[in-house]
Amino acid sequence: MTYADLSDALVSRFGDAVTGRSEFRGEWTLALRPDSIASACRFCRDELAFDLLLDISSVDLFEHDPRYELVYELYSLTHRLHLRLKTTAEAENPVVDTVCSIWPGANWHEREIWDMMGIRFAGHPDLRRIIMWEGYPYHPLRKDFPLEGKFSDVPDVAFTEPAPLAGGPFVTAPVAGNTEVREPRARRAGDPPPRRTFTAEP
């Protein structure tokens, strides 16, 4: 079994639902439409022997459409191969089908994504926050959430206050661009405004 076989198997099974596939330094990535990610995951586990879900992560592609990207890292103990699946979620009401019934380990990964990024998982058995507390009103890893935080208060549970950043380094500015543009290492009075052009990305 090679990556090309795996990739071909997925493409032949899911056809148009595979919106892209790429290979970078021996790592294979397949992009899928959001409505077919759960069935593709089940196919990967049952037919292609990807019996281990290493991680699910999410990316906020702020000001892109669709806004969110989910990344599933699969590993096959049988074939000793990695495979990366990607899918997307809309900015308005981001929902993706759960893969908890396929790999039980997805439970906490999906709860973390809901907590930090605010993407819901349809069919998740226990979609509560996992890091922040119940009642915290924000999703802090979104790009439009300020690093210093916001006021919140859940009586007898926890409160938050903005931290005094004083315009310091790594403060996210609500502008388009890559991390270097949005979160410069230093800002001083009289500095030119943050560049709006990409520097490292095309």
Binding site: M132, E148, E161, A163
Partner: protein, 173 residues
């Protein structure tokens, strides 16, 4: 024993009689038997453990009896990053400690939030509970904690609680 010592004794009857004030005697007992509540929240707790272990041996200062019950503790050593999720739990444990009680903020995070200028971290435990001694460092060496403990002992030795009570009593009469 120096001329300005709060204790006074006669070398001819050494070991039998010491003259002092009640405040000094009580403070001397309190400051040399500080039972810590080890509120270990991050890497500072490792240095706190090192301070308790044989090489640094916090027992030399009478503070080796780490109590994991706030009811039995005198000094809370807040060692580590206080997240907002933990903040009210720290306050609750402080509230459960019996008076008299003291707090050492160990390290940059407990003192000021440290390097975590972040949505998730309380910017210093003094936002919630009164702190007696701040120990700098990230994390502080065990020597720094021992220095903080000695400073707390000096602070306790200067506490005029019984003198204050006596003044209040005289004023009420």
């Amino acid at each position: 024993m120096s001329e300005h010592s709060p204790y006074a004794y006669d070398s001819k009857i050494e070991g039998n009689i010491i003259f002092t004030t009640l405040d000094t005697a009580i403070n001397w007992m309190r400051s040399n038997s500080l039972w810590p509540m080890p509120m270990g929240l991050a890497c500072c707790a490792i240095e706190l453990m090192a301070a308790g272990a044989s090489r640094f041996d916090i027992a030399r200062f009478g503070a080796e009896v780490m109590r994991f019950s706030p009811r039995q503790s005198d000094v809370m050593i807040v060692a580590g990053t206080v997240t907002y999720k933990m903040a009210l739990a720290v306050k609750r444990i402080y509230d459960q400690m019996a008076d008299p009680k003291w707090v050492i903020a160990m390290g940059a995070c407990a003192s000021s939030g440290g390097m975590y200028r972040s949505y998730a971290v309380l910017q210093g435990i003094d936002h919630l509970i009164p702190v007696d001694v701040y120990v700098s460092g990230c994390p502080p060496r065990p020597e720094a904690l021992l220095d903080g403990l000695m400073r707390l002992q000096q602070k306790i030795m200067g506490e005029p609680s019984f003198l204050e009570q006596k003044k209040e009593l005289l004023a009420s009469i």
